[in-house]
Symmetry: C2
Subunit: 142 residues, 2 copies
DNA sequence: ATACCTGCAAAGTCTTTGCCTTAGG
DNA sequence: CCTAAGGCAAAGACTTTGCAGGTAT
């Protein structure tokens, strides 16, 4: 099943015009095997890849794969952290344009608080809070 | 109302042992006025602050304010972007420990997809997707 | 053959710190 | 006064790019 996924993804890459190199295969395999997202450093230092290729290669592969929509880049939009005042009782989720970077607050009630409570009880995590962001292309950039 | 918020927040800062300086007041005021989160650069280059103090000052203030729980730092946890394979029909949300950085996938059904559709219709954004992360202190780090 | 990939090393971009001066309380 | 805060400039931490040589197709 995971083996299939590797082939499927490599096929996608081929269709996208990428050559089938060892680095590419191993990168994809590593991502498939991992059950959570990985950073450039995680990947480049992973035993699968660290001997096999340079970090610049991993970087460029990830870059291409993001553009082709094969992988998704999470967090670090605009390469910087965002800060916001922490006002008790107030919570904001956001809608962000992946093209122009425009950020707007969402005024719909956040549907996540209930789940947050459940997670607290189920996992034993304390001081829970969440971040919810929607990304897409805004009408102007379409 | 917003004026009150400024005073309330400055009071918090005072309780936290911070001195009331021009830079601090203006930083808070700027954050209150903004309706979405701002980066270090946004703040430091903002007309309110750019002439008033150095970026290092803004940086240090934000750092203290985060520690005191007056502001929250969004995104860029671990100072790096995360990558994940984009498998159609599969979607993962995450639970992350703010102490040790442990990331685990959440297996509860994601309660956000419905809202995502509504947002698409209401705003005209296309290609919508979302990122949802829960943060807290894991049992081991408590 | 000929694009495309890579490794290496250098250049960028921001963040973070050290140190000495300034100024709240 | 005494200690926290701020300015300036240097140091870090990663990311990103240029170039010369290797490789899949």
């Amino acid at each position: 099943m995971q083996k299939d996924q590797l082939e499927v993804t490599l096929e996608q890459c081929k269709d996208a015009g990428l050559r089938r190199t060892k680095a590419l295969s191993m990168l994809i395999e590593t991502l498939i095997t991992s059950d959570s997202p990985m950073t450039l450093a995680d990947l480049s230092d992973h035993k699968n890849l660290t001997e096999l290729c340079d970090r610049a290669t991993v970087f460029r592969l990830l870059q291409k794969l993001s553009n082709k929509g094969v992988v998704r880049r999470l967090g670090l939009h605009e390469r910087a952290a965002y800060f916001t005042l922490l006002i008790p009782g107030r919570h904001q989720d956001f809608l962000i344009c992946t093209d122009c970077g425009d950020i707007q607050p969402i005024n719909a009630p956040c549907p996540v608080h209930q789940l947050e409570k459940e997670i607290a009880t189920n996992t034993g995590y304390t001081s829970l809070y969440h971040e919810l962001e929607f990304f897409g292309t805004c009408p102007t950039c379409t």
